[in-house]
């Protein structure tokens, strides 16, 4: 089987499993909504969420992604599918890409539902550039799923399981989170006024860094995955 077919088969398997249960996407969307309500209470009387819009969005997505990432491997492990996957004539790196793209699809679906809700309910709007806003989210997602897939494979093979993932995953995600927040904030705030050009330059350098991080993390995860998934 060619690499694309192997990856495709793994994605297809994950999508079918998800279509049957729908638990991952539904849980993640609910979680994102709950966090939104928590933000509302956490910020007290604040009505203007614009200054930290990017932060709110990314914190919600990052935390929601830990739920999905955990799920994606706990299933495999509990049902003994991981052994099956390892025994199947599939190259190890292709398992990584298959699982990672599967996670990416689910996270994207969650965001397609959640972003409009966030914009509507927190009275936010994308004043700067919509393509930049979408681009930042896509790049951020790639980073989340790359690191997340590698680390959730580790956490599911440990004694602590779900508890371990946030502890090892969130600090490692800091560079992605920081650049994604800067880029998203900029894209939402717009580049008007005296500081406009400077803001734009900052957002663009954040976007570039974000893309570079994605590539670096992809390469590292690709190289290390073989050592993580099994003997």
């Amino acid at each position: 089987m060619s690499a694309t077919r192997q990856i495709g088969a793994i994605i297809k398997k994950d999508v079918i499993a998800e279509l049957r249960t729908k638990e991952m996407v539904v849980t993640m969307v609910l979680f994102v909504l709950i966090i939104m309500v928590a933000f509302h209470f956490g910020f007290g009387e604040t009505k203007d969420f614009a200054p930290f819009a990017g932060g709110l969005i990314w914190i919600a997505f990052l935390f929601a992604s830990t739920l999905g990432l955990n799920r994606s491997f706990v299933h495999e492990k509990d049902e003994g599918c991981l052994e099956g996957l390892l025994l199947a004539p599939v190259d190890r790196p292709n398992i990584f890409f298959g699982k990672m793209l599967g996670n990416l699809i689910f996270l994207t679906i969650v965001e397609i539902i959640a972003v409009p809700l966030y914009l509507g309910m927190l009275n936010l709007s994308v004043n700067g550039s919509v393509p930049l806003f979408v681009g930042a989210i896509v790049l951020g997602n790639i980073g989340i799923c790359t690191v997340g897939t590698l680390l959730s494979t580790i956490s599911v093979n440990s004694k602590m399981r779900d508890m371990l993932l946030p502890v090892i995953y969130l600090p490692i995600m800091t560079p992605i989170l920081m650049t994604a927040v800067i880029a998203t904030n900029g894209a939402m705030a717009g580049f008007v006024g005296k500081d406009g050009p400077q803001m734009y330059a900052q957002v663009m350098s954040a976007m570039k860094l974000l893309a570079v991080y994605d590539i670096i993390f992809l390469l590292v995860a690709y190289a290390l995955y073989d050592f993580v998934i099994g003997e």
Binding site: L150, N157, K159, M160, V167, P171, I172, I182, L209
Partner: protein
């Protein structure tokens, strides 16, 4: 090897003493641009060498981790673990001295200043390393996961450092002075402390490594005797 370790630790200790002696007795007190004397700059002779050593330790942790993954020899896992452990201890010292300097220079204990923040994230990343190791029961898996995580963490560190630069710092970085405007006794004190701290670190690394080898031997003997 034991003898070499001891001589290294004494050499490192002696160099550190000499470095601090020069820093406090010979080197002049730094003066800010406005002409104010900055006695708190003295902490720099300790703070910077510790910071450099902890970064070196984390880097070594990743290098030994990679060697372990390639060669599958247990000694590299011991070395990697020892390096990360020491890096963490030195990192805590960086954080403490940084906070002390904050209080002296800015009047607050904690400032969300790029450098301090980067180090805090670094500490969180490596604290998770120990959680990860303790969450795995089997020794070989522990070593494998530890090595993978040490490499991933070392990749994250420079990235975090880069991205935090994007956030405009509201504070002038006063003590950046260090390398740039140092000369004479100040530079001598700094270099001697730096070299001493690195030597001291290498000695500690070797000691920790030997301790782990001994622990493994004891474990083995215990099993021989029937638990």
């Amino acid at each position: 090897m034991k003898k070499a370790t001891y001589s290294l630790i004494f050499a490192g200790g002696a160099l550190l003493m000499i470095g601090f002696a020069i820093a406090f007795l010979v080197a002049p007190i730094a003066v800010s641009e406005s002409g104010k004397e900055l006695f708190n700059q003295k902490i720099f002779y300790y703070h910077a060498p510790v910071a450099e050593t902890s970064l070196l330790a984390f880097l070594l942790g990743a290098v030994f981790g990679a060697l372990f993954l390639i060669k599958k020899e247990r000694k590299y896992d011991f070395l990697s673990l020892a390096a990360v452990e020491l890096g963490f201890v030195f990192g805590m010292l960086v954080e403490f001295t940084g906070v002390m300097w904050d209080k002296a220079a800015w009047g607050v204990w904690w400032q969300w200043e790029p450098r301090l923040t980067t180090y805090l994230i670094l500490m969180l990343v490596y604290a998770a390393y120990f959680v990860l190791r303790s969450a795995v029961s089997e020794d070989s898996t522990k070593a494998r996961f530890g090595a993978v995580y040490a490499i991933l963490a070392a990749v994250t560190v420079p990235l975090t450092f880069l991205s935090i630069r994007l956030i405009p710092s509201i504070h002038p970085i006063v003590i950046d002075t260090g390398g740039a405007h140092m000369e004479g006794p100040m530079l001598a004190a700094f270099l001697i402390s730096m070299f001493g701290m690195t030597t001291f670190f290498v000695a500690l690394l070797l000691m920790r490594y030997q301790a782990q080898l001994t622990a493994e031997e004891v474990d083995y003997l215990k099993n021989e005797l029937g638990g």
